[in-house]
């Protein structure tokens, strides 16, 4: 009962204030200020009073900031829809009011006509009724946690580092380092604003070790559209690395000359071990020069 009375009193007060010509205040970013009009980034232009008061939005005192594109402003409208006060700031102002409330004051010579380019609003159906139109992807720009989990080829060296390179970071091959989570998978979580669209590829730290497609050819970059969600999980599979496809000759790396042909698969045998030799030729060979027991020279 008390709440109902309070609500009625509030409505009555609002009606009285409107009837008395109370001002309306909205804040936003300026698009232009010229020829007696102020334009906001909604595209709406409003008449400005000849004696408009211009103040600093934070201090309320006079300001050296001039109304201009990109400047943030809080506009006070009188009952006729004329802007009588502009409070300016170079930094964003907290949202105040709604441009829907002052849309009727916007000046435009032509009568509005519908725009067929714009999508129609889709009403959410009542509970229990099926959705007749497929819900479209929604982008609000808010941060979304995106987790990438990639399965790598089984012959990927265990100590390999795996990275994601994207067109957003200029295809830097070490842009997003990933963490190994088991023998075949790497994972990383990054924060992207919804609406972000980017292309990406996995690699092992250089573009020479980039992933290739399952058919052995260079892979077309994957594309990710970040839609509104609390968390998104992207699961991908790398079929092969460019520098380590099965049975291939390894591609040389920049600034590393290939080592001479070595018939042995062990790259760091001790120097004092004799090389492979055919058997059946008498006693074992002596140690190499410089090793204990080697013959004098």
């Amino acid at each position: 009962m008390r709440r109902t009375l309070l609500a009625l009193a509030s409505c009555a007060l609002a009606i009285l204030l409107l009837a008395a010509g109370a001002s309306v205040v909205v804040s936003g970013q300026l698009l232009a200020y010229q020829e007696g009009y102020v334009f906001f980034t909604t595209g709406d232009g409003f008449r400005v009073a000849h004696d408009v008061v211009i103040k600093d939005a934070k201090t309320g005192a006079g300001t050296a900031v001039k109304p201009a594109p990109r400047v943030w402003a809080r506009a006070t409208f009188d009952s006729s829809g004329t802007v009588t006060e502009l409070d300016l700031s170079r930094s964003p102002l907290p949202p105040q009011g709604s441009f829907d409330d002052v849309a009727r004051f916007a000046v435009a010579l032509s009568t509005p006509v519908p725009n067929p380019d714009l999508l129609k609003n889709v009403e959410t159906p009542p509970p229990g009724e099926p959705q007749t139109v497929a819900a479209s992807q929604h982008f609000s720009g808010r941060p979304v946690l995106v987790t990438f989990i990639v399965q790598v080829p089984p012959y990927t060296p265990f100590t390999s580092s795996v990275y994601i390179s994207t067109d957003q970071s200029g295809w830097n091959a070490q842009a997003i380092p990933m963490d190994r989570v088991d023998a075949l998978h790497y994972q990383i979580t990054r924060r992207f604003n919804s609406g972000t669209i980017f292309r990406y590829l996995y690699d092992r730290g250089s573009l020479q070790s980039e992933e290739i497609a399952q058919n052995g050819l260079a892979r077309t970059p994957r594309e990710l559209v970040v839609t509104d969600a609390d968390v998104r999980v992207i699961r991908d599979t790398v079929y092969a690395w460019q520098d380590a496809a099965p049975g291939q000759v390894n591609q040389p790396q920049p600034q590393v000359m290939p080592t001479p042909y070595n018939p042995a698969p062990f790259p760091n045998l001790p120097n004092c071990l004799p090389p492979p030799e055919p058997g059946g030729h008498g006693k074992p060979p002596p140690p190499p020069p410089g090793c204990p027991g080697s013959p004098p020279f």
């Binding site: 010229q34 595209g43 725009n115 946690l145 997003i176 088991d182 790396q253 090389p275």
Partner: protein, 580 residues
């Protein structure tokens, strides 16, 4: 500001902004739109290039709203409702990274700033012309430079198909230096040339070429030319290697032909060679390999996948590089007599003792193989992520991964190499930021000679030939148990720890086996090698240091168990600055 478009109209106004991702530009404040049909004044104009829609707020007697469709500036659609974001300014930092007095924008490709300045500690640094390439083509990013700890890139010229860049780089090997790189890019091809480091005596000249012909065939090459020279003076040493690769894709497999041609001494006899200025290595080996590889195929409906591959190839070298008739490299002891070995004039000497023996101590074998053919066959079996339990919480689930690889390589010089690798891991995500895994790997490599092979080292039970090594005959087995932990409380911070225990044969002994060399960043060149210390632990921490950069620091600690108890750190921290 003044804007001129390729469509032929000009716009002046107070402020300009362009959202390069949205591909929309806007001019606001005292706007004048001028084209062949006349001039109109207004408050703002916004051009959505992808949609061919221009939204204009003219101010004639009063403001209005006009829309130009498909570039037709002569017939505005008046009063049409505009999208809500038609005139929104993109939110950007108050501290620009680059400023300029003008800019040329090629949509979806690049921006070239004129009279550009960048800022360091609020001080302007003049750049002249600076190009920001934001093309989605990854070919622009293909590069031929090696890794570096820090790379500051000045893109000094660009076009829709080219980019010229000067790099100021730092790495622990070459310290601070400059490099130059040129990119030429097409829809299905690229060519990249670089000199790195350009301001050091040791220079690497690189050329990478790529062409995709149709949807099933591609060919690429990478040529590297190493010179030791002051600036562009006559080189003291020069080496060259070229890698060629061609791939043809079939519906369920592909065939790749690769070739590597190397010349270890382009200058010829008389070139520098340490420690003696003699002829230098005149070796110029060549290598060709043709490999057919299947796709990864699921076996029946089991959680098991297979992939097979088979290849044929040959190695050829009629000079020999680093191989000696008795297998030993040259030896110049302090104060002792010199041992100058006889180089093998080919790839490998193996067979009966030669008719002429130049040494009474060592046996030299013939024939010398200048060409060695090989056949490779291998297969992979693996099973990704089998769920081991089914608890109510996903943070209590354990997953098993396993893989098995077997490869044989038969050589025309009669020996064959078999490699077997088995890998098992169990992992669990304990919470959103914490996951761990336990892994066990067995790697078995056997180098088997049909006749003879690896000889025992002597004298037995010495520092150079410990007991555990005397029975080594070309077969090694490495068992590695790994425990990994990742803690990622936020996308801007990461800590990971990897602790490994190796139980290997031959048993590692400090000082007998060499550690692998490091790349110029200080990271080991290869991961698995004989003589690995039985224990190692690698810690890595990554955190945000700038609004668009992460710092990554890692270091490995190795130690031996009894009886040696030797321990040591990896020589340096590995530090990298990574963009976010």
């Amino acid at each position: 500001m003044r804007l001129r478009t390729s469509d032929g109209f000009t716009v002046t106004g107070d402020a300009f902004s362009m959202d390069l991702k949205l591909n929309r530009f806007m001019v606001a404040g005292h706007v004048t739109l001028h084209d062949a049909t006349g001039t109109v004044k207004g408050a703002a104009i916004s051009d959505f290039l992808d949609f061919r829609r221009i939204y204009f707020v003219p101010v004639t007697s009063e403001p209005d709203r006009w829309t130009f469709l498909d570039g037709d500036l002569a017939h505005p659609v008046k009063g049409r409702v505009m999208p809500g974001d038609a005139f929104y300014f993109p939110q950007v930092s108050d501290h620009p990274s680059i400023t300029g007095t003008g800019a040329v924008v090629d949509t979806k490709t690049y921006v070239r700033f004129i009279n550009a300045h960048t800022y360091f500690l609020d001080a302007g640094v003049p750049l002249g012309t600076y190009v920001v390439n934001f093309s989605s083509s990854q070919y622009f990013a293909q590069n031929t430079l090696s890794g570096a700890s820090v790379d500051l890139t000045w893109n000094m010229a660009g076009s829709p198909n080219a980019l010229t860049a000067l790099h100021l780089r730092y790495d622990p090997t070459y310290k601070t230096y400059l490099s130059v790189e040129q990119h030429l890019v097409g829809d299905h091809e690229y060519a990249i040339f670089s000199v790195n480091p350009a301001t050091r005596a040791e220079k690497w000249w690189n050329l990478a070429l790529y062409e995709k012909l149709g949807s099933r065939f591609q060919i690429q090459s990478f040529t590297q030319y190493y010179t030791q020279q002051n600036w562009l003076q006559e080189p003291r040493a020069a080496q060259q290697t070229t890698y060629l690769s061609a791939t043809y894709a079939f519906p369920h497999s592909y065939v790749t032909a690769t070739s590597q041609l190397t010349n270890y001494n382009v200058l010829g006899p008389g070139a520098l060679e340490e420690p003696k200025a003699i002829a230098g290595s005149l070796s110029h080996p060549s290598q060709v390999q043709i490999t057919a590889t299947s796709f990864q195929n699921r076996i029946l409906k089991w959680p098991l996948f297979e992939q097979i591959y088979e290849g044929y190839g040959f190695n050829h070298d009629s000079v020999g590089g680093g191989q000696y008739l008795n297998g030993f490299p040259g030896y110049w002891p302090q104060g002792g007599s010199m041992f100058a070995p006889i180089p093998t004039p080919g790839l490998q000497a193996y067979g009966a003792p030669c008719g002429v023996q130049p040494s009474k101590f060592y046996t030299y074998y013939c024939p010398v193989y200048t060409t060695i053919w090989n056949t490779v066959f291998g297969f992979n079996l693996f099973t990704p992520s089998i769920k081991l339990n089914n608890p109510p919480s996903p943070y209590q689930t354990y997953y098993l991964n396993a893989s098995f690889n077997k490869q044989y390589q038969w050589n025309s010089l009669p020996h064959w190499i078999s490699t077997t690798s088995e890998n098992f891991s169990i992992n669990r995500q304990f919470s959103r930021p914490v996951n761990t895994y336990l892994s066990y790997q067995i790697l078995n490599v056997g180098d088997h000679y049909i006749n003879g092979g690896y000889q025992p080292c002597t004298p037995v039970d010495t520092f150079y030939c410990p007991l555990s090594f005397t029975s080594f005959r070309g077969v090694s087995t490495q068992h590695t148990t790994s425990l990994g932990l990742n803690w990622v409380p936020s996308p801007e911070f990461n800590f990971s720890l990897l602790v490994r225990h190796h139980v290997d044969y031959p048993i590692p002994v400090p000082g007998v086996f060499g550690l692998p060399g490091n790349n110029i960043l200080g990271q080991p060149l290869y991961a698995s090698y004989l003589g690995q210390p039985p224990y190692d632990a690698t810690g890595e921490v990554r955190f945000k240091v700038l609004s668009h950069a992460l710092l990554d620091v890692s270091r490995t600690f190795y130690w031996y168990g009894n009886p040696y108890r030797t321990q040591f750190w990896q020589p340096t921290f590995v530090v990298q600055l990574l963009p976010i």
